[in-house]
Symmetry: C2
Subunit: 615 residues, 2 copies
């Protein structure tokens, strides 16, 4: 009823009129819905069934395309967003709509996972972050400030501390588990070099999901269910994503995964096999090693620990150079390594007591890390080479250690993986490198946050199979620390990455799921009324799924509006042009599928839906 | 198709089975939709048609109700929100859902107004706020900080500066006007005393609409359209709102309105007539004055200007006391008054040059403000009374002035309005006071921000009727400063105010439009499957509008679940209890309408919709 009165008020009988041209009477437009809808008399129209561009702010013009314009520049020129301050952006109506579509899309997938949506405050307290020892670790990337009472606060870049505290306080019963809570909101990180628009900005939108279980086995089931949800989600976005094994610190390599989109503008290196499904990020990737070939002469790369107490010699064959050293591999056996230094040699001397009374400081430990290719060469290395020539240290004052294999006992490879190295998983494959953007990650946290923040729950012992408590009676309660996971998706990043991935020389392009509108109807200058009728018909179709339609009702020329539509990147463009006047045919363009067809109005909804399901 | 397979997968044939008990076969459940829905094979289920409480986190228990528990305490106990830091809140799933419903509701009304949705950054720059001279005015209420490069930033409490800058940069053509942009997002204000939960918090959600027109007459049309939209919006929420005339500074009293909900916990004073529709806030309210009665003796109230250069004597009849002085009335004739001081007498002396070399400082001007009731008494006041007895000032060094009438020439009333005073608009009415919470405001800004931020547009002169440029030729362009309006709605406040307004001793209560769910289905312990069937039936009803349904599938007793439902405040509770077992009757409770009925399943959707439209 409402819909009908709406149509007739704005465009009396016009829809019906044109539909009769085709000799078909669509009950969807010409008769009221079959059930009596109850509305209070004062209730206004529920919503427009399509959007008019004249009522939807898209600032256009004034910006000239540059040569080799990147996707970020296209997002600005097409009117999706604007930078307000360095690395900080305003979303304009088109961008806001993409963001809202993406949020609804993620909501759907999180709901399928049984996750409940929350909205945590953006302001957190520095005291809370001190409890988990992260305040210093984040360093200058945290926006910090104090309130009028000098309480130290921060703008949260992530919410483990807050959600763990919240759940610890409110959730007492094991019956609440598994518990899955997520939010979609603004995060803050004071990037030293914000760049590439929303791909690396200082204020950005994240989806962050936190999972809570009372046992490790249940937490691992949760982890697998989240992974499955991420697969469904990225698959439905129709993005060619890569899932890379990532490092999860002490916990083990199979409990952290990254979801990437390969792109030349990416800042991550993803290494994958050209034969099997092995994919890993640079930090975790390994290659199948060739047996060491004969005797090599050693070279030395020198490092130092973050606290400067440990000196590190890395011994490797002189057929390689310092540039080939894989600091991730060194960190895997010696996590204390400070990998941020270009030159560690200043620390290879003891510092004499200063005039200001500073005590003498000097390293206490010397660790030698030997690449497997050198075999037993380290036995032969001259003690003279253990320290640089100009060092004033005395070897006898240092504890000297040797590391010759990985933590799991396998040969230690400290040389960077190179394109064409052998896959570690299959026998035929060779490794290749791809630049990529990280769009999401899954991470099993264990008790990293629940232990310091004392998030505990009492569980009947018989439910805790994996802690070997099977012998206790069923009713007895055991207090356990919650097992957590955190699982992020970079919403702003998806927008930037999709824009980059699908843009061509004409403009942007959007997957159906997150396009600002699914269809734009572009009538010629004299066909505005026909445009209204076609838009209303598509938005209310009962012959197929109703479509999200924008009508370009501006008084510009048809070619101008078509160029603008190409730039903005609607998945489908419906043009009422020559064919419409001669034969009542709508021209349907889909640039991504390189498809142009001429379709009768009554066939339009199903035709467009068929195209959309490929996008 | 999707929906069907969804039902059968989870609850095979059960719905159909019970529907047959009533001898009715509902095509909505037993047959597929009549049109072929196109889905890609891999696309997962679009969404659940109802929500199970077992998958929706509501932390309950652990909090004991206090005597005279206020609505904020109920919001916490029922699981809507939790405080994270002083005046800062986390929204839990119930609260998040109310917030999202309210956002959709506001979106609908903004769309009807032709407003486009944007999302501006929460971080703004102090430099920008200096351009409009607001940085100091906001004072310690602004959360300020610097980034790693020492750029001074702030967390925006409102966005006039940002949006004006954005529109000034992007909108060049008069064809883009009228332009209406709004957002719904977080705002920040470092309240000195955050209190009453989300009613006065430091992080809160606002809807802020900004309007841009190229002429004053167009801006006034916009203002009236916004007012009409606000009326529709608050009416649809079924809240008994008050619209108060508010002060809009220099521009005039008819271009700013406040939207209030009357409540004893409110912090604003709203003055209204018991006979006509006169409503004004305390700042702007006036009363019809009685003629001055004979000669009164004067009392003096002393004040001082913010810059301490002007001393202020307010002369009023000694039948009143200092507590009756209306500082808003003084400010209306002398805006410089510092109304924050309890005692201004220290400033009524000159300060001698100090030992630290500070120059002598003394007031330069003395203004006498005379209440109309004193008639010409000020002529007779002894010069001795112009200064306090212990003042060391010399009258001859001061410029002395007298103010004896309002700016518009009417009699000057500096006595506070009191309950029972005469209405200034009608002749029969008496004024009454109400405590109220401000939920929204509309404000015509003129060029307050567009002038300093140089937001200008070129307009053909013939479109600018109201600037007297009618004689210029049609094609000639005139550059004008944009006319703006700002129009806020406190989203967090609406949630807190509605909770307060509708709560009773049993718990909360929500209007249909923003209830977390419209209906909760509460089955007995053994009736969980029936609960699923009833929920599915209501959520998919084609006999009436489909409902937003929550199923309480927890394994608690029926009375426990009913008490919990009362506390949470779902508009409608459907109980499968005794009547269900004996006669297949659902018990439908609506506490707000004091309605309990027993209804057959097939009648349930229409019965519930009828109740909901009263809520």
């Amino acid at each position: 009823m409402t819909l009908l009165s709406h149509i007739s008020r704005r465009q009396p009988r016009l829809g019906l009129c044109y539909l009769r041209v085709h000799g078909v009477r669509y009950s969807s437009i010409s008769t009221p819905p079959t059930h009596p809808t109850i509305h209070s008399p004062s209730e206004p129209i529920v919503r427009d069934s399509f959007t008019r561009i004249s009522k939807f702010w898209i600032p256009t013009g004034g910006i000239t395309p540059t040569e080799n314009e990147d996707a970020h520049a296209k997002l600005i020129r097409a009117g999706y967003l604007r930078q307000s301050h360095a690395g900080i952006f305003h979303m304009l109506p088109l961008g806001q709509r993409v963001q809202e579509k993406l949020e609804n899309f993620i909501d759907k997938h999180m709901s399928q996972l049984g996750a409940s949506k929350v909205s945590l405050s953006s302001i957190s307290s520095q005291a809370l972050w001190q409890q988990t020892n992260r305040l210093e670790g984040y360093g200058p990337e945290l926006f910090r400030f104090t309130d009028r009472k000098d309480v130290p606060l921060l703008l949260a870049p992530t919410h483990e501390e807050e959600i763990t505290t919240l759940v610890a306080k409110t959730t007492k019963s094991y019956k609440s588990f598994p518990l899955r809570l997520y939010q979609i909101g603004r995060k803050y990180r004071d990037e030293i070099r914000p760049r590439q628009g929303v791909l690396r900005s200082r204020e950005f939108i994240m989806k962050d999901l936190y999972t809570f279980d009372y046992s490790l086995s249940s937490a691992l089931t949760t982890y697998e269910q989240v992974r499955a949800a991420y697969h469904r989600l990225f698959t439905e976005l129709k993005l060619p994503f890569l899932v890379a094994e990532a490092s999860s610190g002490d916990i083990g390599g199979d409990l952290s995964h990254e979801y990437h989109l390969a792109t030349p503008i990416g800042e991550d290196n993803i290494i994958s096999c050209n034969s099997c499904d092995y994919v890993a990020n640079e930090e975790l990737a390994s290659s199948r090693l060739r047996p060491a070939e004969g005797v090599s002469s050693p070279s030395i790369w020198r490092g130092v620990s973050k606290d400067r107490s440990t000196l590190i010699n890395v011994w490797y064959p002189d057929s390689f150079s310092d540039d080939d050293i894989n600091t991730y591999a060194i960190k895997s056996v010696l996590p204390e390594l400070d990998s941020s230094l270009n030159d560690s040699t200043p620390f290879w001397s003891s510092i004499a007591p200063g005039s200001d009374g500073a005590p003498e400081s000097r390293p206490q430990r010397l660790v030698n890390i030997i690449d497997y290719r050198l075999g037993s060469v380290h036995q032969d290395t001259s003690p003279d080479a253990l320290l640089p020539e100009d060092s004033n240290l005395d070897l006898s004052t240092l504890t000297t250690e040797y590391i010759t294999s990985s933590a799991d006992g396998s040969p230690l490879n400290i040389i960077r993986i190179r394109e064409g190295d052998n896959c570690p998983r299959c026998h035929a494959g060779k490794l290749k490198f791809q630049k990529a953007i990280e769009l999401g990650h899954t991470f099993h946290l264990g008790t990293r946050y629940s232990a310091p923040l004392e998030a505990q729950v009492s569980v009947p012992s018989n439910l805790l199979e994996d802690n070997g408590a099977a012998s206790t009676s069923a009713g007895e309660l055991t207090t356990v620390t919650m097992q957590m996971g955190c699982h992020g998706i970079g919403m702003s990043r998806i927008i930037g990455a999709v824009a980059d991935h699908l843009a061509d020389e004409k403009g942007l392009n959007w997957p159906r799921a997150i396009a600002p509108f699914e269809v734009v109807v572009v009538p010629g200058k004299k066909d505005e009324k026909d445009g209204v009728m076609v838009s209303e018909f598509l938005a209310n179709s009962q012959a197929a799924r109703p479509l999200d339609v924008l009508l370009d009702d501006r008084s510009e020329s048809l070619p101008w509006k078509m160029r603008d539509a190409d730039l903005i990147g609607y998945p489908i463009i419906v043009i009422l042009g020559k064919g419409w006047h001669s034969d009542r045919l709508c021209e349907v363009q889909c640039r991504r599928l390189a498809s142009i067809s001429h379709v009768l109005l009554e066939d339009l909804p199903i035709h467009i839906n068929r195209l959309l399901f490929q996008l």
